[in-house]
């Protein structure tokens, strides 16, 4: 049973964010970034005018769920936008050996820049190094390589930030409420990103002494587990004020359990940004009031970065000549107020 | 016999299992260098006794001394260290390992304490096999590829691979041909000449006469006689001790009126052939008739039976029941046409050991007790109860677990299965294997009675007296071919043995 490990799964089904690439670039420029203000949604890319021809090689895992599908779509449509970009996209694979082979082929073809979303970051570090040594700059997408020498620039989501922003949102909503109780429905517990999301959430809650996290159960990113674990949580906690659910996909199951239990006495915050979640937020008739993004638009941004690298340009909006070596994306909170802006990119 | 104490004495051994006392005061004394025969019916306690001796069971009471010293046989390893080796009837070899690996399993010759020296093991094994007169068995071969007789030799080699002073052999001749039995006896003689003692368990009294020195008889968990001279004690006395009565190979009378010949044959076999197993065989079987197939292991007798039954597919020829040919190679076709088989390996091929007598009896007749798949359990129980009683199966409670029955009663359960089905032709493969002498007579009577009631019986047995005593007609087989067909009364044991062995490379 081959199953995508790590990041892909949790990232899966995250709705897409329509945040423009430029905004992202200006917003987050380091791994430590936590609490930046969302960028103004102004100037998008470096320079829309055609420049030097650039061939970009793109290698990702098998698109076996929505989030990865969106990654591919974002990359392709972004590349199509530029007349000076040729995209060499491989057939996705979850098999490490196969993906290494595909990337080596791209190296042999002497593409100008490589964008790699590895099936397994650690396992593909070597081939990243090989590309860099061959003089091909590598944009490492989301699942990070073991060594910074294996990429020129890393761009990816911020799991800690997801938890943090979810915590802050809930904190603000429950401001002034005494002895407020919060419940957490986490994702697959043996994944580091789940731990990061929980840590961010807990750190945010420390700012709100009136709120206490009374229960946490881990589901496994599936609808079925979301339903089962949520049903148990609802039974265990006869009243609480807010729920932070790590993943909109298991959230489908969680909402089902909430509906079956006939409960509506709390507010729920999801994670990812699935279209179904955004629809529910917009409709406003369920407990789901917000969702925190993990945007697949990072693939579009990666194409922008690759093009800039290939043309030896910087990124507009930054003073530096060179593009940054690391970009952590901001996990925006989608609420009824701003859902219309994000909705078009929410996907199934 | 000798000035020094006996090699082994066991006195007052008792052993109880929940509900039953298996050993109730057994005394046994074995001298070095003798063949000591242990006799007793199934259930007399022989198996329990040798398991105590092998360290597999702990006795509740009693004393064991070994060369004059009291000992406790706390585990199989403890027994092995003293030099007691046991060759069980159901061989305990591992088929996926080679001969040498089996022989030295658990005490492999090693370097540095853990690296197995395979070559050394193979050399030593080859020596042991040569000593046993079977140098043709290659130490590197897989045990699963060997014949039953060869496996027996490997078991013996394993016993001898230890420093052994006493070997216990549980029915070692059961799976062997006469020729192989001769070889076995030669090995036993060699061993005793070296001073090794042998405890020999067998149902065959004539074997005991040939090689035994002394006999101990067990009955119902007690030793009823110890140290009888094997050669001179009259058979009747031994049988009387075992059973409490005088019975030996008693066969029911054949019906006086030979009506069978006038009837139409119910089973016809025409030119049935399986290459490499048996040449074209023709035979006819009439209602009320018992036909015996006599031959050695490998003469094709069981193969013929199983091919008639459809369990093996013939290369040529056909089987007809009441004139209509059966689909070849289909057990279901045979069963539907009214053929039943009591196979040689009862436990492996016939019985559902976890189930009750009733389930075992009704398994071929289930649909009769079912309406739309629903089993009428009361009807089933009543019918099986009646079938079981007709065959005097004891206990006659159909809810009894089949595995608690003796061999003879298990065989009756298999017969009851076909009786209940109302089959016309019954194929019996070694029907008295593992059945003790007293119970045999009963089985013979049951088989004859079934024939008298109109059943046609095809009987295979490796015991010539059994075939001659029970069958009306006999087909003698040698190497897959019928060499003689005759009325059973025209043959005697010597004549049959001559026919069976004629031309074979035996002495």
């Amino acid at each position: 049973m081959a199953r995508t490990p790590a990041t892909s799964r949790r990232a899966l089904l995250f709705g897409t964010a329509a945040v423009s690439a430029g905004a992202l670039l200006t917003a987050c420029t380091s791994n430590e970034t936590k609490d930046q203000e969302p960028a103004a949604d102004n100037a998008p890319v470096a320079d829309d005018k055609p420049g030097k021809q650039v061939t970009i090689g793109f290698a990702g895992p098998q698109a076996d769920h929505g989030w990865l599908n969106a990654i591919n779509d974002n990359a392709k449509s972004r590349a199509k936008k530029y007349s000076d970009v040729t995209l060499e996209i491989t057939e996705g694979s979850n098999d490490t050996a196969q993906q290494i082979g595909q990337i080596e082929t791209l190296i042999n073809k002497k593409v100008d820049v490589l964008v790699i979303l590895p099936a397994d970051g650690k396992a593909l570090t070597q081939v990243g190094l090989k590309a860099m040594r061959a003089g091909i700059p590598v944009i490492n997408l989301d699942r990070i390589f073991n060594s910074p020498q294996a990429y020129r620039c890393w761009i990816g989501g911020d799991n800690y930030g997801m938890g943090l922003n979810a915590g802050h949102y809930i904190g603000e909503q429950l401001k002034g409420k005494k002895n407020a109780k919060v419940v957490e429905l986490a994702g697959l517990d043996n994944l580091e990103l789940t731990q990061q999301r929980t840590k961010g959430f807990d750190d945010a809650l420390k700012n709100y002494p009136n709120i206490k996290k009374v229960a946490r159960q881990a589901a496994d990113f599936t609808v079925e587990s979301g339903q089962a674990k949520m049903a148990q949580l609802l039974q265990a906690q006869s009243n609480f004020d807010a729920l932070w659910n790590h993943d909109d996909d298991q959230g489908v199951g969680a909402l089902r359990a909430i509906d079956q239990a006939g409960r509506d006495d709390f507010l729920m915050v999801g994670g990812a940004g699935a279209k179904s979640a955004m629809d529910a937020i917009k409709a406003g008739n369920s407990v789901l009031k917000a969702t925190v993004l993990y945007p697949p638009t990072m693939a579009a941004s990666a194409i922008d970065l690759a093009r800039a690298l290939g043309q030896s340009k910087g990124v507009s909006g930054l003073a530096e000549f060179e593009i940054p070596s690391s970009l952590t994306l901001y996990s925006a909170v989608v609420t009824k107020d701003n859902v219309d802006q994000y909705l078009p990119t929410g996907f199934i | 016999m000798a000035p020094q104490p006996p090699l082994l004495t066991m006195s007052g051994i008792t052993k109880s299992f929940p509900g039953v006392r298996a050993l109730d005061g057994v005394d046994l004394e074995v001298e070095a260098g003798e063949v000591h025969c242990l006799l007793g019916q199934n259930g007399a306690g022989k198996s329990t006794l040798i398991k105590v001796l092998a360290g597999a069971h702990q006795p509740d009471d009693g004393e064991i001394t070994w060369r004059g010293e009291p000992v406790t046989l706390g585990s199989p390893i403890a027994a092995m260290r003293l030099g007691i080796a046991t060759i069980y009837q159901e061989l305990d070899l591992i088929e996926g390992l080679s001969v040498a690996e089996n022989v030295f399993l658990g005490h492999e010759p090693t370097s540095a304490g853990f690296v197995v020296r395979g070559a050394a093991a193979r050399t030593a094994t080859a020596q042991l096999l040569e000593r046993l007169g079977h140098s043709e068995i290659e130490p590197a071969r897989l045990v699963g590829e060997l014949s039953a007789a060869q496996q027996q030799i490997v078991s013996m080699a394993r016993a001898l691979s230890h420093e052994v002073r006493l070997i216990v052999m549980d029915e070692p001749s059961a799976a062997l041909d006469p020729e192989e039995v001769d070889n076995l006896f030669r090995i036993v003689a060699d061993l005793t000449a070296e001073g090794v003692a042998v405890i020999y368990i067998s149902h065959r009294l004539e074997e005991i006469r040939r090689i035994g020195d002394r006999v101990t008889v067990l009955k119902e968990g007690r030793s009823v006689a110890g140290g009888l001279p094997a050669e001179s004690t009259p058979t009747r006395e031994v049988v009387a001790l075992m059973t409490g009565r005088n019975v030996e190979y008693v066969f029911p009378e054949r019906p006086t009126a030979r009506f069978a010949a006038e009837r139409e044959p119910v089973l016809k076999v025409e030119g049935l052939t399986r290459r490499g197993e048996f040449a074209p065989v023709d035979l006819e079987l009439r209602p009320g008739e018992i036909v015996g197939l006599a031959g050695l292991v490998g003469s094709g007798r069981s193969e013929i039976l199983e091919t008639v039954y459809g369990a093996r597919k013939p290369d040529a020829g056909r089987v007809l029941v009441d004139g209509s040919p059966l689909r070849p190679g289909s057990v279901r076709a045979a069963v539907r046409a009214g053929i039943g088989l009591a196979p040689e390996e009862r436990k492996a091929q016939a019985l559902l050991m976890l189930e009750s007598v009733s389930s075992n009896v009704s398994v071929s007749t289930l649909s009769r007790f079912a309406r739309a798949g629903w089993i009428d359990r009361r009807g089933e129980r009543a019918a099986t109860h009646q079938a079981v009683r007709e065959l005097s199966l004891r206990p006659d409670n159909p809810d009894t677990a089949i595995r608690t029955l003796s061999g003879g009663n298990q065989q009756k359960a298999v017969l009851a299965r076909w009786l209940l089905r109302g089959c016309k032709v019954l194929l019996l493969d070694e029907p008295t294997r593992g059945v003790d002498i007293g119970a045999r007579a009963e089985l013979y009577a049951v088989i004859r009675r079934l024939a008298d009631e109109g059943l046609a019986v095809l009987l295979v047995s490796s015991e010539v007296p059994e075939v001659l005593g029970l069958a009306d007609r006999v087909l003698v087989l040698r190497e897959g071919s019928v060499v003689r067909t005759a009325d059973a009364r025209e043959l005697d044991e010597h004549r049959v043995l001559d026919l069976v062995m004629e031309g074979s490379p035996t002495s």
Partner: protein, 342 residues
């Protein structure tokens, strides 16, 4: 009729002594079986006590009983099918994958157009179809069950992924969604629990009161003896895997009702849960003995543990450790049953 020398009974003491050598009598067997069931009930009782003490208000509520039974229903139905397969000496590793495939096939937009009946029918047919393939491969293709169902596991999961493209298929048919809601409870019993109960009762009757069940036990206990007794062993095997597939189809429908959606990740590791429940229930992994009651108790024990841990807000890791310990303990208890000693 009978001839002279046959002589009178004398076998009775013999068989008594023999039973001592081989151990156990029929009455003891029956008793032991009861002991096994009772010990499972005992474990369940202990769990209930633990739940009642650690979370008195939540655990003992009616709503919690409804919850536990509902959570047990889906895997319970799968386990009933699995019990038959294991009793026959086989194994079905593909149950989770079949549930996944049936659940996504039954929730595609095209299927949902046919409403309630379309979803139910599709789920059941897909399950039966997969079971048919398993059965044909094993019975007539002479493949080892482990391999054949492993292949089905891989391909059914793959097909499920292909159908969904990885996305969750939300159910929009209101009547299906309503079935999972509180308003559909019959006398306080959720409909899914009623389905589970029905499958259990039918399964018990099938195993213990019909020729089908008897043949299943015979095939598992001694396939060679069953064949020589005239049972069509191959056809029986085919039916058994078909039955397992049918149970998976029903379970898939129940899961659709429960989760309101179909997803290719559904039924994750159901094969292990079902096997574990059947084994701790007392079904022999080597075949020849099966107990539906035991299997259902096994499922309930696992579900209750999960429930107690969730109510006490304990971590997943601890739950998994407890589950492993229970399996080991149950198998150790079984060791003390009729065989295993020689």
């Amino acid at each position: 009729m009978t001839q002279p020398a046959t002589a009178a009974p004398k076998d009775a003491p013999t068989s008594a002594a023999e039973s001592a050598e081989e151990k156990g009598s029929s009455r003891l067997t029956a008793l032991r079986w009861d002991v096994r069931t009772l010990s499972l009930l005992g474990v369940l009782a202990v769990l209930v006590a633990v739940g009642g003490i650690t979370a008195p208000d939540e655990f003992l509520a009616t709503s919690n009983l409804q919850l536990v039974l509902t959570q047990a229903s889906v895997i319970g139905v799968v386990t009933v099918g699995m019990t038959f397969v294991i009793t026959s000496g086989g194994i079905d590793l593909s149950v989770g994958a079949m549930v996944a495939l049936a659940s996504v096939w039954a929730t595609t937009v095209a299927t949902q157009d046919f409403g309630f009946a379309g979803i139910l029918f599709t789920a059941v047919i897909v399950g039966v179809g997969c079971g048919l393939v398993n059965g044909l491969l094993i019975a007539y293709g002479r493949m080892v069950p482990f391999i054949a169902t492993l292949a089905m596991l891989a391909s059914a999961r793959g097909l499920a992924l292909q159908i969904t493209d990885g996305s969750t298929q939300v159910v929009t048919v209101q009547s299906v969604l309503d079935l999972g809601g509180r308003d559909s409870y019959v006398l306080g019993i959720p409909p899914l629990v009623l389905i589970f109960a029905a499958v259990t009762v039918i399964g018990w009757l099938l195993l213990n009161r019909t020729t089908f069940g008897r043949r299943t036990v015979a095939v598992g206990g001694n396939a060679e003896a069953a064949r020589l007794a005239g049972i069509d062993v191959r056809r029986q095997r085919l039916y058994l895997y078909l039955l397992s597939g049918l149970c998976c189809g029903i379970a898939a429908f129940m899961l659709i009702v429960l989760a309101g959606s179909g997803q290719n990740t559904n039924g994750n590791l159901y094969e292990l849960d079902a096997i574990a429940a059947a084994i701790i229930g007392g079904t022999l992994l080597s075949g020849g003995r099966g107990t539906i009651v035991g299997s259902v108790l096994g499922v309930l024990i696992f579900t209750t543990i999960t429930n107690i841990f969730a109510l006490n807000n304990l971590e997943t890791a601890v739950q998994q450790i407890a589950k492993g310990a229970i399996i080991v303990a149950a198998v150790l208890v079984q060791r003390r049953s009729p065989h295993g000693d020689a």
